[in-house]
């Protein structure tokens, strides 16, 4: 069953704490994404990964970094989280062919207090 799994689903952190969001997929998709979703803004691309250790900044990478050491796993890290990073974060994966529609996880709802 094709699935993108995100952990945790809900997370509350204090400003200045480090945050680790994890994403896994069982389809061996080469391409993986991290987006954040805010009301009225749709989804904004944070990072895209083309394969292990092959990552590229998206439209809003500032304040975030990523790690991809295995094809099935893609992490989003917030070093010293800020209150304006409160959002819903979505991970997605797709085949590397042009124009493939990403398959999304259920999201992680992060609150930074």
């Amino acid at each position: 069953d094709m699935k993108v799994t995100q952990m945790p689903r809900y997370l509350i952190k204090r400003m200045g704490e480090n945050v680790l969001l994890e994403c896994g997929q069982d389809m061996s998709h080469e391409t993986m994404y991290w987006y954040r979703q805010d009301p009225g803004l749709g989804l904004q691309l944070i990072y895209i990964s083309y394969d292990v250790d092959s990552n590229s900044e998206g439209d809003i990478p500032k304040g975030y970094r990523v790690s991809r050491k295995k094809r099935e796993h893609f992490s989003l890290i917030l070093d010293s989280a800020k209150t304006n990073q409160t959002s819903v974060y979505f991970c997605a994966s797709s085949l590397p062919d042009r124009g493939q529609a990403p398959l999304f996880g259920e999201g992680t709802r992060l609150s930074v207090l």
């Binding site: 391409t31 895209i48 999304f104 259920e106």
Partner: protein, 113 residues
């Protein structure tokens, strides 16, 4: 740069009535286009996708969309709306030759009895 505009933040339709959700894209060339649906507290699910070819694309649950190069549009339609269609709908574009997928800000569909 590519972009997607969904001009209607909210649309209300009576159950059983027809539906059109608007999407305009900005891209030089013919892109790949997608419509996704997001139910409350869930991730995005693919409704349908357009690859260069037949301008009318059929999706799941009776949805279809029509691509128009002259109007730079990719509107979503459904002949008869059901209460279960109450959700947020996102239009997205991916350039030919690339992997980046850009999303619109979404349209919230409300279904009245």
């Amino acid at each position: 740069a590519q972009s997607v505009t969904q001009p209607d933040a909210r649309v209300t339709v009576s159950e059983g009535a027809s539906l059109q959700l608007r999407c305009k894209y900005s891209y030089f060339g013919t892109p790949y286009l997608f419509w996704y649906v997001q139910y409350p507290r869930q991730g995005l699910q693919l409704l349908l996708k357009y690859y260069p070819g037949d301008p009318v694309v059929q999706g799941v649950n009776g949805f279809e969309a029509e691509f128009s190069k002259s109007n730079s549009s990719f509107h979503l339609r459904k002949a008869s709306v059901h209460w279960s269609d109450w959700a947020v709908y996102f239009c997205a574009v991916s350039p030919t030759g690339g992997y980046k997928v850009v999303f619109g800000s979404g349209t919230r569909l409300l279904v009245s009895p």
